[in-house]
């Protein structure tokens, strides 16, 4: 059969391991590019990545905390614990529809694993989230609380689950958007809907008992609840972790399947 090693280096043909190291390089270079771009023209890059969820926390605090008098202890802290990881998800998913479109000229000419473009977008947002954890820590200390050692386990566990989930979803959205261009609008709508259906501005205990079960039907709720419990109470809730990974595997599987089925057609439709 045709030997199509477009771009693949000679050494790469030999083993899976070197192919893996090539993918790692590609992911590294693309993510580095995103991060460099973010900081190139603005030395405020980091501030901006933190300012956005902080601004939203402030708005929600005013609207729901002060005006609507939501009774949650340390409400600003509670908001931040949910909004920071949410921003990772929301940024990645709203960027997803345009990932392949923005690289159209490349996809039309070069055979390369284009799913790495998606991975680098999600990874980039994830890195920003991880670097914003000190801000959460700062708020925690300001409220006279202390972080727990369980963070050392919980953060990597939830980071991995969220990366898998978001990457799978973003891969599906990015692929499908080439065939149904309206997905762009739909995505931003669904992300907003999901935000208000997830206990981020309200706590899960505020949900009436008869609707409690639906929280677990929301595929991103276990993740967000997990983050909140980890940051606020230092708790590792294993049923939330299990649910997060269940959804993560599902999304990763579905996303990869869609990509696998459609990617050979990308160059025609992009």
């Amino acid at each position: 059969m045709a030997q199509r090693e477009c771009g693949a280096s000679r050494s790469m043909r030999n083993s899976q391991r070197t192919h893996g190291s090539y993918l790692k390089d590609l992911l590294f270079v693309l993510t580095q590019k995103e991060i460099k771009l973010r900081y190139k023209n603005t030395w405020l890059g980091y501030i901006w990545s933190v300012a956005n969820p902080l601004a939203f926390a402030l708005i929600y605090f005013i609207a729901f905390g002060i005006f609507m008098r939501v009774q949650i202890q340390n409400y600003p802290l509670f908001l931040i614990a949910g909004l920071f990881p949410w921003q990772w998800l929301a940024h990645s998913l709203s960027a997803a529809p345009n990932i392949f479109l923005a690289n159209a000229s490349l996809i039309k000419k070069v055979r390369f694993p284009s799913n790495v473009l998606v991975a680098s977008t999600v990874l980039n947002a994830g890195i920003h989230f991880v670097f914003s954890i000190p801000v959460i820590l700062g708020f925690l200390l300001a409220y006279g609380l202390v972080p727990s050692w369980s963070w050392l386990v919980g953060i990597p566990v939830f980071v991995l689950a969220q990366f898998m989930s978001v990457y799978g979803l973003a891969l599906a959205i990015a692929s499908l958007n080439l065939f149904f261009r309206d997905l762009d609008r739909l995505t931003s709508l669904v992300v907003t809907m999901l935000f208000f259906l997830t206990p981020i501005v309200y706590s899960s205990s505020m949900i009436p008992a008869q609707y409690q079960m639906f929280v677990y039907l929301n595929p991103v709720a276990p993740l967000m609840l997990g983050w909140q419990q980890l940051f606020l109470a230092g708790e590792l809730n294993w049923s939330l972790i299990a649910a997060s990974y269940l959804y993560a595997l599902l999304f990763l599987g579905v996303g990869s399947l869609i990509y696998q089925k459609l990617s050979w057609k990308f160059a025609e439709v992009v």
């Binding site: 045709a2 090693e5 771009g7 280096s9 590019k33 000419k109 070069v110 160059a267 025609e268």
Partner: protein, 256 residues
């Protein structure tokens, strides 16, 4: 040894891709257009067969929408043929259109790494070749400047410099050599000659008859997705020019 073989290759797009050919072409070949609409598909390549020996330099000629770029994309492996067989032996390196795989905000140096890795090298392999690439591009003094301040020709030079240092077995050049200045064009030709001596197979799409005549051992003429002729570039080009005269006037040997 055969480097590239097309065996009865057909590639069609669903009807809604028709516009890709351009409205002018569609209108000029109205009967053809109607035929393909009736069939519900547009034949970009229609039962195309040709072979390229390893080390050959072959020019693809033909008007816009005749299937040249589709053929290139099939060789590069980004498209799949609907029927027939495409066999390609060796490592392919496409020369990208201006700026593809580059980012305007990154510096020349950063872009070299990005582009090289996108084209299939590991980071270390790019870094090992960095000095050669820089030397060939002759852009040393701009290398730490963002690409957006580069002129069009300088971007093309950078792209070409990366591409030729990937050690390809097959080089795909789609109408991009004309952007560099005369000096750089001369160096590109030198490099292409060097590649030919080393046995690299080169496929060149160009509307510059000069370029085809000077660089190619052979030419393949595509017309509405079929092979209309094949042979010595000079002869084929004059036949091609004659075919075009009544349509486009004497001043334009190929519609742009």
């Amino acid at each position: 040894m055969i480097a590239i073989r097309f065996e009865h290759v057909s590639k069609w797009y669903p009807r809604y891709h028709q516009v890709l050919r351009g409205f002018k072409t569609s209108l000029l070949h109205l009967s053809e257009t109607i035929r393909s609409f009736r069939q519900g598909k547009f034949m970009a390549l229609d039962d195309v067969s040709f072979e390229l020996e390893k080390g050959e330099t072959v020019g693809l000629i033909g008007p816009n929408g005749s299937g040249k770029s589709t053929a290139m994309a099939l060789i590069a492996g980004v498209l799949k043929a609907n029927s027939g067989r495409v066999d390609v032996q060796g490592r392919i390196c496409p020369l990208l259109e201006l700026g593809a795989g580059f980012h305007p905000e990154l510096t020349g140096r950063e872009n070299i790494i990005l582009n090289g890795v996108l084209m299939g090298l590991t980071r270390q392999e790019v870094l090992d070749r960095m000095d050669e690439i820089i030397a060939f591009s002759e852009l040393e003094s701009f290398l730490d400047q963002p690409l957006r301040i580069y002129s069009t020709g300088m971007v093309a030079r950078l792209g070409f410099s990366v591409a030729v240092h990937l050690e390809p077995d097959i080089l795909l050049i789609d109408e991009i050599l004309a952007v560099g200045d005369l000096h750089f064009q001369a160096r590109c030709r030198e490099k292409i000659d060097e590649f030919r001596k080393r046995g690299v197979t080169i496929v060149l799409v160009s509307h510059s008859t000069d370029e085809i005549r000077r660089l190619c051992d052979r030419a393949v003429w595509l017309e509405q997705g079929r092979v209309a002729g094949e042979g010595e570039p000079g002869l084929l080009l004059s036949r091609y020019a004659e075919r075009d005269l009544p349509l486009c006037g004497p001043a334009a040997p190929a519609p742009a």
